[in-house]
Amino acid sequence: MSDLFSSSVSGLLAFQRALDVTSNNISNVATPGYTKENANFTERPGQAYSSGYIGSGTDIQSVTRSYDELLAGQVRSSQSSFSNFDTYATQAANIDNMLSDPKTGLTVSLQNFINAYQTVANSPSTTAQRQALLSQATAISQQMQNYNTQLQTYAGGIEQGISSAITQINTLTDGIAKLNQQIASGLASTGQTPNQLMDQRDQMLDQLSQYVSVSTATQADGSMNVYVGTGQPLVIGATSQQLQATPNQYDASENQVSIVGGGGLTTDITSTITGGQLGGLLSVRSQVLRPAENTLGQFSVGLATLVNQAQGAGLDLTGTAGKPMFSVGGVLSSSSRSNTGTASVATTRTNLGSLTSDDYILRQTSAGTWTLTDEMTNQPVTMTGTGTAADPFMAAGLSMVVSGTASVGDSYEIRPTAGASAGMNVLLTSPAQIAVASSIQTTGVGANTGTGVVKSSVVSDPSVWVPGVYTISFTSANAYQVKDASNNVVGTGNYTSGTPITFNGASVTLTGSPATGDTFTVGAAGASNTGDNSNAFALIDSLNAAKMNGGTTSLSSVANNLVSQIGVQTQQAQSNASAQKAVNASATDSRNNLSGVNLDEEAAKMVQYQQAYSACAQLIQASNTMFNTLISAIKG
């Protein structure tokens, strides 16, 4: 009887517990991150009777979660990937929208500027048309300044995002460490898994995955270690290591991600961070934002250089040599904060065609030996020179002069074009200052007997133009020789009427038939040529020519290529994000299908336990009745 009683009571208690578990499951059907719990029944050990072994009821041995580490891990890694691409796509889309308008984009502005030059060329002495050109110049330089301001705003937003992601990560790792301690002590003291705490910890790990890609390792004592990057530990047992946003050694406004180790020592782990919002922000900064700054700067430098060179090679309306039209910001040369020497590096741009949209690191690797590395590709760049003012380092269209004493290991970051757009301004104040007329003119010598006539003479390539007086002499009716003032031959060729004769950056076109011995003198133009527009056409031709990137790309292509590159990066990130979203949804489904609550299942279980409970209660009733019967039988 006592066996009947005790085993029914055990059943009663067990089913009561089981119903508790079921009701908990049902209440938490909508709780995110909740893992379904199962009451695990075990049979009590049997007792030996002469009639056989009789079991003594049931116990709930444990309440465990329906949990699979592999499925949970897949959810986290796909979450990290999705957050990574989603963050990247959002930031890249900002820049994409800024650049993309087909009506106000950079290619349209450049063409408007060229059109304004064409209009001035139609009537070079008309002030109104020159004023319109100055207005276009102001408009395009303001547009570059605006782009720069916008990019700085986005950059600020990215830095903000990085430091707030780090703050969130630190909060979560602290929480995980605390939970580790509670779970370990709970497991140690009761031998049962603290399911609710483990659910909480899983939630925190899921949230952590949104910020950065992590890997986990479960320990024997129930705690979970968390690693980031290439194995840097964020959480070991009950202790967590903090991440810190540290300033970049060259640019204090840029955040690097460091991990704070023992004794407060920080280690920069930025290059190993992948995944999550943090990985997305770091990638978009280095792959989209900085290249956009550099390429826009390259455009500004290209436009300003070509126009200013043409100004210098032409005459303005007063007959004086043209002054520069545009100013642009200089090269950014920053010393590393960890430098121990006293040197600084001054860098100027020397060759437009050799300028790139990359950034460089100049480092003294051993005493007297300097190397230049491309910051994006980490490839070394060949440099000539010794770095002194008389013999500067020359590479990538730059000239670098080191002044002061640098220690071994000192390094400097050189950003050739990033600062150009911010400083783009129009320097000319009066429409008369636009140099539309050629600064050279060619005249036939009076003794010429042929019928050669000068059609035009202009400086077509100001970057190699050597000012001076030149003589073109015809050695025969079909061949000419060009000599400079010191009688050095600077050009020879066969003559065709109407085909330009080029030398030292000048281009002289003759028509007709010169005779043998005829000579033409190329010298400075007089101030009376107010109607001459050949310098304007020389500039228009160079703005349309491939003068950038080693002579392969025109200014317009630089702008157009930037727009489509950002477009491609945004589009790819967006499609990767939606692919990862689907992967994440599928992984979440798989996990939920194992760990999620199914109301119908719980309803069925509830019915089962209820019936069993009633049955056990009935058994207790029966046992009570049997006992009463026995007592009344004995009482008589």
């Binding site: 890249a92 994409d96 139609n122 002495s125 059609k455 009376s528 050949s534 317009s556 945004t570 949804a585």
Partner: protein, 396 residues
């Protein structure tokens, strides 16, 4: 296979979200008419659209340039037409003056009228266009090109002209220098000039002459010296005698070294005539020379006739030169018209190309919109009906 209740919920919600997002995008494409909102929508298409827009803008500018060039060239054409008329009037006056019966004062009257024609010609040369720029000064557009100093008219303008861009690779001269129109006119018959010495006393009048055999002509300065009314020798600049004739009479031509020069009248002994290589003579100096001749009462009829004969040839040369330049201006005007026509066709093609790349295809978008609407409705209805199913309902 086991499905969690939450799976069903989250999947249904996220699918409806996705369908709504797609629907919103399609609706946006329809409302704005363009499917290219940013480069991310189609980077390759956006790049092409940018390039096409640049071409279109440049093409529009070329048309504007062409209009400006047309108005300048038309003014030039008008000026040359007026100049030709002036020269024609001067020619008529010169023919009228070549009449031995006229008295010195009658000749002086004609000289005064010719002076007026000369002044007219100078002021035509100094005309300005609509923007106040000199038409015939080349690139020195603020310099008055023709200036008269005593009896000489000098050209002070530039030797080069400006260009205007009327097409992607087409630049044309927007004018012609005054030098090429008025100054650099071949003298004589283009190859040589003839003149009689001022000290001649006979009645011989030398004509303009022609080149009958180009191969035989040796460019040089020749002197025809008459030793008597019937005998003359032709010597070149080094003194070599190239021809001797002893039976000259009135009306004969003088021939030597491939040239034939008519001579009328009877030269006296000691009279000389010069045959020189032709240089350039300006239209102004031609008119001036007639005026000078008619104003000199000491000249004989023969000398007057000879000089006017030469001047008439010069005027013809000037008119012919002007008509050549006019033809070139006409050709330029034609090429502007045809390049503007080409620009029109190009712009139409570019607009079509841009539209194909960036405009919404309404038929496809509306079909897509309908499909997405139907999908969303199906998702919503199916969710509504399936979410009702629960075992708890049946356990009441």
């Amino acid at each position: 296979m086991r499905i969690a209740t939450i799976t069903f919920q989250t999947n249904a919600t996220s699918q409806m979200n996705n369908l709504q997002a797609d629907l919103a995008k399609t609706q946006n494409d329809l409302a704005t008419g363009t499917r290219l909102h940013s480069a991310a929508d189609d980077p390759a298409a956006m790049s092409q659209v940018n390039t096409l827009n640049v071409q279109m803008s440049a093409s529009t500018q070329y048309v504007t340039n062409g209009n400006y060039a047309t108005s300048t060239l038309q003014l030039e054409e008008q000026a040359m037409s007026d100049a030709t008329n002036t020269l024609q009037s001067a020619r008529d006056l010169a023919v009228e003056a070549n009449n031995p019966a006229l008295s010195a004062s009658q000749r002086a009257d004609i000289a005064a009228q010719l002076q007026q024609q000369l002044q007219d010609l100078i002021s035509i040369g100094n005309r300005v266009d609509g923007s106040g720029n000199q038409i015939f000064a080349g690139t020195a557009s603020n310099t008055v090109p023709f200036s008269q100093n005593g009896t000489t008219v000098n050209y002070l303008g530039a030797t080069q002209t400006s260009q205007i861009q009327i097409g992607p690779n087409q630049r044309i001269s927007s004018g012609d220098t005054g030098a090429s129109v008025f100054m650099n006119i071949p003298a004589g018959n283009g190859t040589f000039t003839t003149s009689g010495a001022a000290t001649n006393t006979g009645t011989g009048s030398i004509g303009v002459g022609t080149v009958s055999n180009t191969a035989a002509w040796v460019p040089d300065t020749y002197t025809i010296a008459f030793t008597s009314p019937t005998d003359y020798t032709v010597t070149n600049s080094t003194g070599t005698v190239v021809s001797t004739v002893t039976n000259f009479k009135d009306g004969d031509s003088i021939s030597f070294n491939g040239v034939q020069i008519p001579m009328t009248g009877t030269p006296a002994a000691g009279d000389t005539f010069t045959v020189a290589k032709a240089g350039n003579a300006s239209a102004f100096s031609t008119l001036q020379s007639i005026i000078t001749t008619l104003s000199d009462p000491t000249l004989s009829n023969a000398q007057i006739s000879s000089q006017i004969g030469g001047a008439l040839q010069q005027i013809d040369n000037a008119i012919s030169n002007m008509s050549n330049v006019s033809a070139s201006v006409g050709a330029r005007l034609n090429s502007i018209t045809s390049s503007q026509g080409a620009a029109q066709a190009l712009q139409t093609n570019l607009t079509t190309a841009v539209s194909q790349l960036s405009d919404t295809d309404y038929a496809a978008a509306i079909t897509k919109l309908n499909t997405e609407e139907v999908s969303l409705q199906a998702a919503q209805q199916s969710y509504a009906s399936i979410s009702q199913l629960s075992l708890f309902k049946f356990l009441q």
